[in-house]
């Protein structure tokens, strides 16, 4: 099957791109790396009248360390992040997760903004943004605004970004001395979307403190379970049976691959493994 007929534009400024989106009245759709959108067009899941290619917008580029943290332009490709000097020291969680996202050829095109905009429930980046307490910067007809990751992921492919808005950049707050991180995902084949996964940030180990745990591949979106985090804070993270009971707050989804029950089990396994790795 082939994509429906559409027009294509490659604006050269953010203002121009936003004007095209506004003029499209919902019929214009941003195009970033195309690694998710191209199949969606070919399956006719997406049927835009116009694609607005974001690759020519200087405002969406840039990857730099600021006093607040790592600012990632929305059009930063996964491969550019992978090649960023000392990424494993600056943002260990991102460095740990990147190799699990698809394969090299896809990471050469796919962008961070595209992943966060799409908000696939099984994608790694949204959960990492939750764990790190990231801030997503948007721009649109009513001007720029910042949205905390906690308020951004709303439901199944649904986010706080309006159809006439664009993600311009994402800020990953600077890590503090003593911070530790954990990441684990269960997949059928390396590079696939996860059947369940977790990204963890803790501001200490033994005891764990200020935990933020982003789950992905479990429900309709990436999410945190604060009761579970509270139950683990102040503990050494070895006896987690009680904390795990809070996983029942998640509305686990089944699909053609696995049932909701199996997914719930996998979420617990991923959490245990990530914690174990963090604590050893």
């Amino acid at each position: 099957m082939k994509a429906p007929d559409f027009d294509y534009a490659r604006p050269s400024s953010l203002q121009e791109a936003l004007a095209l989106l506004a003029a499209g009245e919902g019929g214009a759709q941003p195009l970033a790396g195309g690694q998710s959108l191209m199949p969606m067009l070919n399956f006719r899941i997406s049927t835009p009248e116009m694609l607005v290619d974001l690759s020519g917008l200087p405002e969406l580029r840039g990857l730099e360390q600021t006093p607040q943290g790592l600012r990632i332009g929305a059009m930063t490709r996964y491969c550019e992040l992978e090649a960023f000097p000392d990424l494993a020291k600056i943002q260990p969680l991102v460095a740990a997760a990147l190799p699990h996202i698809a394969h090299d050829a896809i990471r050469n095109r796919g962008t961070i903004g595209g992943s966060v905009a799409l908000a696939d429930p099984a994608a790694e980046m949204p959960a990492i943004l939750l764990a790190l307490g990231a801030v997503i910067s948007l721009d649109g007809p009513n001007g720029p605004r910042d949205v905390a990751a906690d308020d951004y992921f709303l439901g199944y492919y649904e986010t706080a970004c309006e159809p006439d808005e664009l993600i311009t950049s994402i800020l990953l707050p600077k890590i503090e001395p003593g911070d530790s991180f954990g990441f684990h995902e269960l997949v059928q084949r390396h590079g696939d979307y996860a059947m369940a996964g977790v990204a963890i940030r803790s501001s200490g180990i033994a005891p764990l403190a200020g935990l933020r745990i982003g789950f992905f591949g479990v429900a309709d979106r990436a999410l945190r379970v604060t009761a579970l985090e509270d139950a683990l804070n102040g503990t050494d993270g070895t006896d987690i049976a009680g904390a795990l009971s809070h996983l029942s707050e998640i509305d686990f989804q089944g699909d053609t691959k696995i049932t909701a029950e199996t997914r719930a089990h996998y979420a617990g396994v991923a959490l245990k493994r990530a914690l174990k790795e963090m604590l050893t």
Partner: protein, 168 residues
């Protein structure tokens, strides 16, 4: 829609429907049928080509997104009378059976060896800061986006080792 591409060193001007993928532009409009279409959805890697030196799936990108870009296909990597070292190694090591995945494998491996010499880490690289060592696991990991339905994997890995100058 007018698109200018440099393909295997030659400038080409195309007038295409914006829906045309780079893969369809190569195969249907330029007669470069070396790049293969396995799935058309980014799942198999048969369509892998290099754009500005980076490997990408030609089925997951529109030709018009690449105005001004340099594209290298299997035809540009080598010809029957002038094979690249990787192409020679695929022949000598039996790196294929039906051959359908082979152009994608070779384009992918050509770019992959470049990535390694540029010092990019991978999932199995133990020391993220250190120089990537070319083990068989490392090759398999970095080639994970290229499927081979005939499962010629051991010989593909062997061929890549050979071309990289490190016989396993």
């Amino acid at each position: 829609m007018q698109t200018h591409l440099t393909i295997n060193g030659t400038q080409r001007r195309l007038d295409l429907d914006p829906r045309t993928t780079l893969l369809d532009a190569l195969r249907h409009h330029l007669g470069l049928t070396g790049s293969k279409k396995g799935c058309d959805h980014g799942q198999c890697g048969a369509c892998t080509v290099m754009v500005n030196g980076r490997r990408i799936n030609a089925c997951l990108t529109l030709a018009c997104m690449h105005d001004g870009d340099e594209v290298t296909t299997i035809e540009g990597i080598g010809q029957p009378d002038d094979l690249s070292p990787l192409q020679q190694a695929f022949v000598s090591e039996d790196g294929f059976q039906c051959g359908y995945c082979t152009p994608g494998q070779i384009c992918s491996a050509t770019a992959m060896l470049q990535e390694i010499s540029d010092g990019w880490p991978s999932h199995v690289t133990s020391d993220l800061a250190g120089e990537a060592e070319l083990t068989s696991d490392e090759i398999s990991e970095r080639m994970s986006g290229n499927l081979c339905r005939c499962s010629a994997y051991p010989n593909i890995v062997q061929a890549i080792h050979k071309a990289a100058g490190k016989n396993a």
